[in-house]
Amino acid sequence: MANAKVLLVDDEVEFTDVLAARLRNRDLDVYTAKDGFEALKLAERTTFDAVVLDMRMPEMDGLETLQKLLEINADLQIILLTGHGSLPDGVQAIKMGAMDFLEKPADIEQLMERIRKAKETMTIIADQKLEDRIGDILKKRGW
């Protein structure tokens, strides 16, 4: 899964910094954002394979950020990090289009597994879009 592009979003900067270091040790290309606003700016100019998003953030919380990220790119694979006993929040996130959710503190291998799955999904979506585009071109040319 070399070079999967991942965005980590959390207002606890120290948390994202250390998690980013660990994911980079696993050959991921990691970006960080300290709030939803920064995450939206980054998502506007970069396509990520996975976004790891904290549920509870000041100003723009995880669910609002999730909704706005999906408005920018409906294909984004977003993994929510929730607090203990936040199953309803996680379910709500899935209903809103999140790929999955994990309880904080998350196990790195579980997170890596979700990121791997997200990368695979994004690759399938990109391949499908390419196939569709080629199909459209061929159709237009009457082939």
Partner: protein, 222 residues
């Protein structure tokens, strides 16, 4: 003003207790998550060292210092949570109002963060000891804070101040710009009900330039 009965006030007390303890537990969970990542980073380094890489002792020391700092941060939060939980032990206690307000200020940070508000404290360093109901007093101050925060313009400052006035203490919660549409009569009634149980009262002060302050007077029952 609508008079709230004791049953309703108790129900609101319970909701306040739940909200604040949930907020504390969220902060503690954040700290545990950071320590978890540092611990994981150390494990990663050990795994690499076992494969022949040199262990960077400077980096290990740096991680250890950061873990200690997070543990100290956690200890402060646990101390505050403990103070908060014990404030409900007795209806009337002798307590330090300065410390109580610093605690309220700390657990109000997240609420303030929703609108990027900044909390300034104008609280004496020395103890201001009074006899009253610390839990109800905290509840009233936090409710006043919420009322001011809900009406404050984004990025504003909210000041929590304390002064003695004869036998009473006065807690002032204020902001420089308050939006009129944020008035919440039901919550104001609850604030008055809470304060009446600590032989206190609230005065709403309009300030030049659109500011608003709540002056909460709390009796010293000693």
């Amino acid at each position: 003003m609508r008079e709230h009965g004791e049953a309703y006030t108790l129900e609101c007390d319970l909701a306040f207790f739940g909200k604040i303890t949930a907020s504390f537990s969220h902060e503690i969970n954040n700290i545990m998550s950071i320590i978890n990542e540092y611990n994981g980073l150390l494990s990663d380094m050990v795994a690499l060292a076992e494969q022949g890489s040199e262990l960077d002792c400077g980096k290990v020391a740096h991680i250890s210092r950061n873990m200690s700092r997070q543990l100290a941060r956690g200890a402060t939060i646990v101390k505050r949570l403990n103070k908060f939980a014990h404030s409900a032990d007795e209806k009337v206690l002798s307590f330090d109002m300065s410390e109580l307000l610093r605690n309220v200020s700390a657990f109000s940070q997240r609420y303030a963060g929703k609108k990027n508000l900044r909390i300034d404290e104008d609280i004496p360093q020395e103890a201001v000891v009074i006899v009253n109901n610390p839990f109800r007093t905290q509840h009233a101050v936090f409710l006043a804070f919420q009322l001011i925060a809900d009406g404050a313009a984004a990025n504003e400052r909210i000041t929590i101040a304390l002064r003695r006035e004869g036998d009473q203490v006065v807690v002032m919660v204020s902001t420089g710009r308050f939006e009129e549409r944020a008035n919440n009569p039901l919550r104001m009634d609850l604030l008055r009900s809470l304060l009446s149980t600590v032989e206190g009262q609230v005065e709403v002060i309009e300030r030049d330039g659109g500011g608003r302050a709540f002056a909460l007077r709390v009796a010293n029952l000693s």
